[in-house]
Amino acid sequence: MCGTEGRRRIERAVQSRGLDHIVIGACSRRVQGPTFERIARELRLGENAVAFANLREGCSFVHRDEPAKAQKKAETILAASVARAAQQSDLKRSRTFLQRSAVVVGGGIGGMSAAEELADAGIEVHLVERQQSLGGYMARLSKTFPTEDCAMCSLAPRLANAATDSRIHVHTLSEVTAVSGPPGELRVRVLHRPSFVSERCVACGRCTSACPVELESDFDFGMAKRKAIGRPFANAVPAGFVIDFRGEAPCRSACPVHTAVQGVVALVAQGRTGDAYELASRENPFPSVCGRICPHDCETECTRGRVDEAVAIAGIGRFIADQVESAKPVAVPTAVYSVRAAVVGAGPAGLTAARELARFGYHVTVFEAQPEAGGALRFVIPEFRLPRELLAAEVARVLAHGVELKAGQRCGADFTVDSLLAAGFQAVLLAVGLQRAGSVPLAASGRPGLATAVELLRSQALGEPIPVGRHVVVVGGGDDAFDAARTCLRLGAESATVACPEDAAELRAEADLVAEALEEGVEVEGGLSAFEIVGAGAVSAVRFRKGPAGETVELPADCVVLATEREIDEEFLSGAPGVRVVAGQIVVDRATMMTERPGVFAAGDAAATGPATPIEAIAAGRRAARSIHNYLRGEDWAEVWEPARPTAEVADADLSTGKPEWRQPMPVAAGPGRRRSWAEVRLGFTADDAVAEARRCVACGGCSECRSCETVCPAHAIDFDQEPWEEELTVGAMVIATGHREFDARRKPPLGYGRYANVITQSQLARLVSASGPTGGELRRPSDGAVPKRIFMLQCVGSRDQTSRGNTHCSAICCLFATVHASLIKQEHPDCEVTIGYTDLRAPGKAHEEYYRLVSTRGVRYVRTRFGELIEEPDKSLRVRFEDTVTGTKAEELFDLVVLSVGLEGSDGTTQIARVAGLQQDAAGFLKEYHPKLRPVDSQRAGIFLAGTAQGPKNIPDTIAQAKAAAARVMSMLSSGFLMTPAEVAWSDPAVCIGCGVCENVCPQGAVHVVDDGIAHAVVESESCRGCGICVAECPSGAMTLGGFSDAEILAEVTARA
């Protein structure tokens, strides 16, 4: 019927009798429907003129043993089709213009082959690849079967072609994020991620040498390390380098000063302590603070802490700070502006601000009330926590920036804010800190034997004599209290007791400090409140109330130190009209840190933050300097609050499951003798310990933002300001060639992958035998670098698997993959024994069987295997137990190296594009084709085609063939320049439609919209409509109908069939 004779019959019948409908009683409409529809069109019967009765697959084929009933059923079916035909009416089709362009998703050999073919046909191609270079999987192989051609040699010309062909637009570091619109006019949204390297890069490689961060190389399947900047292989396209930035490391995000902590640690790991000091002091002029007195939030957030223990960042920081003497001399900035700025207070906030302002190019003068600079670091923190000489060296470095220091000058007495402004300073920063002891009861002040912690610590720092008595009680529980107690011991007291309101188990003070204090013999009494000094004249005891019952406790003492919260000393306010202090803090605008007096700023403990840690004061000083800079320039040149990038996240699955490595403990001076010594208690890491500790960092941010690359790049190509950006491409069609990923052999724990060093995959072996690989092509086993003498290759890992831990399909290439590697190894190492343990040897492709036979004659041993067990020996060799299923014998053999031939699955990129483009995947993640036999290159969505291992496991020549087939499909679709929309689309009658909008909600294509041109009614975009009819079934008014499947047609068929 579908042949020429049948066609002639139809023609004659239609023409001689003037027919307008045809009913075909033959095979299923799905098979030859288009044939008859074309005949009807050519006979000028229009669209929707044919009705089909499925007499074959639906009747005669399935009712062969009931001929009488089948006959009756056939008559009914035919009758129904005739009834339907009577209701079928003509349908309109319209033309849509086709974009003569395409997007190819995936830049491997498949994607590049399709792109080339399309470009040659004159179709503009956008090749979108999510990694930094084209090449895909093939670039990582060594030699390919069955010809033993070098993969890169075959690939390089394709890469060069893609790079230079002007009709192919290559977008790397890019992903497709949305696909909408009808075939012929697909709107594809592409997200471009930044490389942080501009086009000026000449790939000289100096940045790679300078980069301190070592990451696992994905390109080498984890068999080697690479730096955070570079390119995966020499022929990479595009040729420029890329910085692998995964987000801010959590340590950097946690640091109030935003130090590039991961970078500092990486530099220490490389032994580059000078560079580490430079980096550590880039934002923070007092690296001595890190590791000595900072509460190290960086350690709390350290990703390594999720594996075993956080990296001892504080210890490393302290080690670097100690290198200050050998650090590079300060680069003195040139004063760019003839503008003077004054800083009141040479504490951490003030000196940091001064350094920043000097770097901006201002003349800075710092005024300090005490005879020396340092602020709280010098006069509150005792020297057994922060050595004086170290602090002095750091202060000297700050002053070396051209900052002038005027010591011994009190604000409000020796000068005032007014006088500074009158003297020509255009900005004043008040960083006066909290100088007074707070809430000292009147009854207590001025009494002999009584002191405040603030005064005690300051006096000791100034070298003034302090009578401490023999038994000291310190009232209060913060860090200051413990500092005061330990200071008293060193000044000669016999005992020191800290009496605080908190429970002894919940002290406010830092745990490390408390532990050190206890080791030195400081005692702690908790839960005490409402103190009262006992003794007329000289102090004899302190009385407290304890607990909820309020029982009285008396601690004997001849000296009482009040360690209350420190408070602001308002002396500086005189001569500073317009500056206000409210609730003990200078009032400032949170965004600009300016007081209510223009040009007068405040930062540090005294303003806005309240008493905080020194590192936060440093951060406040930096912010104040930037704000002052903006104020002096009259424009926002600097961001006051430094913008942060999103923090890097490392999935648990990516963290090593190897043996835990505990952190280096900080050596501490022995306990009891310490109490009389002013030397530092914590002794610090040796250089070797610091390096070993730094090596524990997992580099979670990728690039650490240390900027070493920027410093050395001769082309000034590094650009950290690049941002991701999106664009929308309008193209006619898409080809998906997103490739595959390997089965993760960790899902098969008995094989020891990920635990035993000498169990690797074929891909990893490919890198080892590849001349461009990490060993330069020398076959070495991972555990000790020895040349393996006995190798076992296990096939079908994760493939042909009926359990839920693997895939059911055969991955097609693994038998030959193992064979080619075995062949290469035998050629280099003829005395190496290679055993391939296979299930079935599958070699279906052209010349594959012949290749396998050839290799088996070269001494490669093929054993038909059922795998039993794999045990790691103490020397990391592997004992494998297996059964030879041909001879039926069990064997147990020792091997130096085991190679797993893991199967293929759909890649992550494939899953993503499937989600975005609405395509379906099978259980293993491969994309589903429209029809597995008859339309193997079409996806289920019109205008989108499939190629390569994204559609199923296959080797390189098959990938190329399929890619070119997909390109041919695109060409045939786009060749006429226009597309006829299908006839079977939905249509809404505006006279009946009530505009309720139910159709718009249910349409899966988003092809229906309710428009209001006076009357609200639904309109279907026929190019996008795919003719499913869901809207028709929902329509409550009956306005919506589907061409070819109207209610009339369906009901006619149903009625006659029932």
Partner: protein
């Protein structure tokens, strides 16, 4: 050729094709609405494999089971079918996103409607399958045939 006739808001009365009514030989009639993408493909594959099926089932091709509404199912029953079933794509695999899920809900609705007037709800069912799954299509067909054969013929006024 008649142009598109749209009788606003009304459903055109289906024309009955004149054949003599089939003798009541106890044979049931089951109408199956099969979606073009999956179920009808599975049905064709079953046919190609020459798997014998009961003759009670008459298939109606629809682009997606989402095209089928309560009206079509109920009309089939009213016009002579003893049972109606829908066959569509597997949940999550409908070629038109979620048409099969709408169809499943509509079948549930029709079942409740039937129950409310005393008609057995199992006369109306829906099955899901993939295009390659001929055995599943056969199972659905046979199950429906068994269910309906066990019920009396549906009487209608």
């Amino acid at each position: 050729m008649p142009s598109a006739a749209r009788t606003g808001g009304a459903v055109a009365e289906p024309e009955r094709f004149a054949t003599e009514p089939a003798a009541d030989d106890g044979e049931r009639t089951i109408i199956g609405f099969f979606c073009r993408e999956c179920a009808y493909a599975a049905a064709d594959a079953t046919g190609n494999a020459r798997v014998p099926l009961p003759t009670t089932v008459r298939s109606v091709l629809v682009p997606c089971t989402g095209r089928v509404g309560p009206l079509h199912v109920m009309s089939a029953l009213a016009e002579g079918a003893d049972g109606v079933f829908l066959a569509g794509c597997l949940e999550g695999q409908c070629h038109y996103r979620e048409g099969n899920l709408s169809a499943l809900d509509r079948i549930a609705f029709v079942q409740r409607l039937l129950e409310s007037v005393g008609v057995e709800r199992e006369r109306v069912q829906m099955f899901t399958m993939s295009a390659a799954d001929s055995p599943r299509f056969v199972a659905a067909t046979k199950r429906m045939h068994a269910t309906i054969s066990a019920l009396p013929r549906l009487e209608r006024r």
